[in-house]
Every structure is written in structure tokens, then in C-alpha cells.
Amino acid sequence: MGLQVENLTIYYQTLRGDVRALENATFKIDGGEIMGLAGESGCGKTTLGHSLIFLAPPMKYVSGRVTLHDAEVPIWDMEKMNEFRFREISIIPQYAMNAMNPIRKIGKMTEELLRAKKVDFKAILPELKRRLDLVKLPHEVLDMYPIELSGGMKQRMVMVLSTLLNPSLLIADEITSALDVASQKAVAEMLVEFRDQECCNSALVITHDISILYQIADSILIMYAGQLAEKASTETIIHSPRHPYTKLLISSLPEIGVKYSEKQLTGIPGKPPLLLDPPTGCRFRDRCPVAFAKCAEVPPFVEIERDHFVACWKETGPDA
């Protein structure tokens, strides 16, 4: 059940060749699970999220299979995907602040949106109002223009819209990054509330902020340079990661209570490879403190413990 992704490979077409933004991604999200997807900018996390709902050029489908509740999702077919978008798979986009039509009242815009999906606005209105209560927005917002709402309110309104038809999978792309800490907490907690109230079945939360994921996600998937690095339960990723990249990433995060004068944190030397012509083998090899000869081959993403997947020869190879 839930979402199953197998060997998904997505490239970007450019004049200088294909940018290999996502290669051989295989993972699943169980029903009712909130999975966090984290990594540095350019690691392919947004590509992964968008390819599941709107695979538009320059994005190019190369290979792979996606199933949702055991039904095939034709992500490569823009037309056929219309049946899935909004109903089965929905997204809260990164630009949620500007996602609403500025010259339409929000209620009117919602009505038009639903008509395009052949849903009766009047019939769904009581449920819409209940959802507004859930995110603590007054019903009057339906008679307001987007400009009259604050950033946090717009974000919540878009959350309500995205989940109105109870999608099986909700993709939340960097929904907290433009907000101040207080609104961040409110929005993140509402996402959990939506899952609990079954407004969406499972969720994929894309962010670069791992500490937010620790608060709300059930499991975390870490990506590096277009490849999956590690996936495990939230507790495991934070407290006992196995992939060297995850370890270094977690240890470089300053936390409340850590001071330079007492404990000096270190970053990861070097920078991610360019994906236009990525190095062969493990892409973290050049920055990895424990790399060895075997790392010239691509490490497989294997389950080393129950629900704990790692792509690293040190953890999975013969001398692990």
C-alpha cells in the first residue's frame, strides 16, 4: 500500500547534454506515513517531488515505475496524469505565497478550480469551511483577495486547497522555508493534523531543514547529488545514521545550546559534483572521509536493518 517508487530516473535536458538530477530512486511511503526528503540545494529532492505530479520539460522521464495503492501512475504521460493530479496526488508548491490568482477572490478561485475537476462547489462548501476552521482561518477569507492575507495565512489557505479532495499523496515542497519560526511551527503542526484527520493519506515533505523533519516526519530520506543516500525512521536518521554523508550533515547543524566557545562544529569540505557530467561510482566519494577503492562502483541502496536503507559500500560491502 501507499506509494511505491522503483528505479525512477529523471534527467533535465539542456543544450550541453542531460543533467542527471535523479538516478535509480527506489523507496516506498506507507499509508499514513509522513516521509521527509532532505538534502542540500541541487541534490534532486525537488526534482523527485515534481516528477511524481508534473513531469514537464525540460524534465525528461528516463526509466522507472511509480505505483500508488498498487495502481500504476503514468507519470510520463502529461494528459493521463490529469486524472491523478489534485485527486490522488497533490502538491503544496514552494511558491505557495504566490500560488493564488491575485485578481480573483479566494472563494471564486476555489469554485473555478473545482469546476475544472468537475466537483460541485456547493456540495463541498461545508467541508471547505470545516477545513478552514482546522487551520484557524476565518470563513471570511473566501470573500477576500490573496493580497489581504499574510504570508502564513496564504500558506495555510493553499494547504486547504491542495488537500480538499483528500489526495492519497500530498507533496509539500519547502513549505516552511519562507516563514518565521512561529508560523513555521504552526504550518508544520497543521500538516500532521491533516494527516491525522485523513485529509491526505500520506505525505512527502521536501525541505532542507532537518530539524523541522525531526518534529513532524515518521521517516527521513536523505539525498546527495541525485542519488538516494539513506532512508530510515526519523529517530534512526538523527541519532544513529550510518551513511557518512548523513553523519557529517547531522553533525554540522548548530543546535540551540551549542556554542562556538564550547564545541566547535565543522562543515563538510568540498562541494557537490556537477550533475551534467557526474563522477562514476559513489558521488560522495570525493568528500567522503572513509572512501576506499570499492567506491568507484555505484553502491546499491540496500536494507541493512528493518526499514533502514543505506547506499554505502562501507556499510553493505564485504568488509562491512
Binding site: 542540500e40 540545494s41 484557524k136 518565521d180 519560526v181 512561529a182 508560523s183 513555521q184 511551527k185 504552526a186 508544520a188 503542526e189 532542507h208 531543514d209 532537518i210 530539524s211 523541522i212 525531526y214 518534529q215 538523527i238 557529517l248 550533515l249 547531522i250 554540522s252 547543524l253 548548530p254 543546535e255 540551540i256 545550546g257 551549542v258 556554542k259 562556538y260 566547535q264 562544529l265 565543522t266 562543515g267 563538510i268 562541494k271
Partner: protein
């Protein structure tokens, strides 16, 4: 020592500038030599405006800013140039701080031509290379490149190196970490801390509380242009007293504990605060009649100031 006394900035907004926006109202604090002070606030709290006032990039509507006793706003011509020898800023977006059609190291040449025309080119180049090494860059790898050939972290260090070439005493660092990736941002932060050891004072402007806690000795919490709480970083982070600071601390996502679900961070729909009252009035769970007047910061323990009537009444 840099000292702000009742610094105020009022913008005229609306059609024909009919309304006033108080971006910064009566902010006073000081940054001692060799000290890192964090200026913390959410978007719109006036933190960047304060940085820009110190750098003389926006004019002041009231109050004074002085460096070692000299009023900054009176500086003109040569004396203003002398001021920029001592005080420099680095900003959030390293990519737009450069002219893309020139090589990135042109910024060092500009400093040479403007401030040190008498220095021999050879000597200057050696000084540039030494400074680049100081900020953790390899000169051979980064010189003679265009901005698009360098990473965000490298460009940000270039700007810090540029500031260091001037032998500055005071650096305004306005959100310099937020555009950088997690794996490289901590290195830039450590660099700032190293510079502090060499006697540089830094005003570290940020919205990220954990970064502020990591690097600074003292912190100033701003809300809507007013100081809510300020003092020694540990005291503010471990025992926040202002209701706004308490709410902030409870909302920071941490890796060692989960959010406390009981603390409600929603804004409360209360009657709008009095224009001269406490700026936190309409969101404050503790607000009472006296909060219709603007609270003054009170020192509740040594080097810990709180601007809240409830706290100062309990203290008195």
C-alpha cells in the same frame, strides 16, 4: 565601541507618503570591541534597517549612532571614507553582490585604487593572497574567475576578505549564512568566530536562533522595530522572560526534543494595540491595561534587559 541611542527610522508609505511606517523605533544597544552581538528578529522587525543605518546606507529619522564617541550621521566626504575603512558590511545574497561581467577579484582591485593607491601592486597582491588564505580559500583556485565559476560559500568569503583588507574594526553581517548550504554554512560561521578572536566586533543579523546562540556573546531580540529583550546570550536562551522571546524559543525546531504542543503560537485576535503601546500587545497572552503604554527596557538581572510591563512589575 559602537553605540546606538534611541535609533529611529520612519518610512513614509502609502499614496503621497501619507502614512508613517515605524521600521525602527527607539532602539538602544552597544557593541563592545571584540564582541559578537546577534540581532534577532522575524522578517519586518527592522533588523536589516538597523544594519543599513550603521553602514550609512539609509538615513536616520532620530537618535544617534556613534563609533568610539564620534556621531556617525555627521560624517561627510573624507571622514566618511575613513569611517568605511573601519566599518564594512556583508549581505545575504553573495550572487547579486557582484557584477557578473567582471571577474570576482575586481572587488579587491577597487579597494586598492580607492583606499590604498600608494601601495605597490606587487605588495598588494601578496596582501590579497594572504587575506584569502585567512578566510580559508586557496588563492590559486579562486583568483581570476568570474562570479558564476565560484560557489556561494566562496563568494561570501570573498566579500569577508574584501572587508578584512581594509583592517576593519566592525563588521555588519546581514543574514550572511542563510543562502548557503548546510554543509558549508558552519564553516563561514566558524570563520566569523575566528575573526572575533583577532579583535573584530561583529553585528550578526539573523532570524535563525540556533546560529545566533552558536556564535554570539550577547543578543538583541527585536519585534516590530522595538527591542523586546536583550543581554547575555545564555540568559536569553535559557531563561527568556519576554512573552515574545518565550514563544520564539518554544517554536524553534530542535534536534534534542520535540515541540511542546501546549504552547500556542497562533496570533490571538485581540483589539488592535494602541499606536503608542507595546508593539506585542495584540499577540501577547499576558497583555493588560498598562500595556497601552510603550514599555521601557528594565534590567532584571545583570546584563539582561526586558521590555515588558508584566516582567518589570514582578521584578519591582
Amino acid at each position: 565601541m559602537l553605540k546606538l541611542v534611541e535609533a529611529t527610522k520612519i518610512y513614509r508609505v502609502g499614496t503621497f507618503g501619507g502614512r508613517e511606517l515605524h521600521a525602527v523605533s527607539g532602539v538602544s544597544f552597544e557593541v563592545k570591541d571584540g564582541e559578537v552581538v546577534s540581532l534577532i528578529g522575524e522578517s519586518g522587525s527592522g533588523k536589516s534597517t538597523i544594519g543599513k543605518m550603521i553602514l550609512r546606507l539609509v538615513s536616520m529619522s532620530g537618535g544617534t549612532i556613534s563609533l568610539d564617541g564620534t556621531d556617525v550621521s555627521t560624517l561627510k566626504g573624507e571622514s566618511l571614507k575613513e569611517y568605511y575603512r573601519k566599518v564594512q558590511g556583508v549581505f545575504q545574497d553573495p550572487f547579486s553582490s557582484y557584477n557578473p561581467i567582471f571577474k570576482a577579484d575586481r572587488i579587491f582591485q577597487v579597494i586598492h585604487d580607492e583606499f590604498y593607491p600608494a601601495v605597490d601592486a606587487q605588495v598588494w597582491n601578496e596582501k590579497v593572497e594572504k587575506t584569502l588564505k585567512d578566510v580559508g580559500l586557496n588563492p590559486e583556485q579562486v583568483l581570476n574567475k568570474f562570479p558564476h565559476q565560484l560557489s556561494g560559500g566562496q563568494l561570501q568569503r570573498f566579500l569577508i576578505a574584501r572587508a578584512l583588507l581594509l583592517d576593519i574594526k566592525f563588521l555588519v553581517a546581514d543574514e550572511i549564512i542563510s543562502m548557503l548550504d548546510a554543509s558549508t554554512r558552519i564553516d563561514v560561521l566558524n570563520l566569523l568566530a575566528d575573526l572575533k578572536k583577532r579583535g573584530l566586533s561583529i553585528l550578526f543579523i539573523t532570524h535563525d536562533l540556533s546560529l545566533a546562540n552558536y556564535i554570539s556573546e550577547r543578543a538583541v531580540i527585536l519585534y516590530r522595530g522595538c527591542v523586546a529583550e536583550m543581554g547575555v546570550t545564555e540568559k536569553i536562551f535559557q531563561s527568556p522572560r519576554h512573552p515574545y522571546t518565550q514563544m520564539l524559543m518554544a517554536s524553534v525546531p530542535r534536534l534534542d526534543q520535540k515541540w511542546d504542543q501546549r504552547i500556542n503560537v497562533e496570533s490571538r485576535s485581540a483589539p488592535a494595540g494602541h499606536p503608542d503601546g507595546c508593539v506585542y500587545f495584540d499577540r501577547c497572552p499576558l497583555a493588560f491595561e498598562k500595556c497601552r503604554q510603550r514599555p521601557v527596557p528594565v534590567e532584571i538581572e545583570s546584563d539582561h534587559f526586558v521590555a515588558c510591563w508584566k516582567v518589570s512589575e514582578a521584578h519591582a
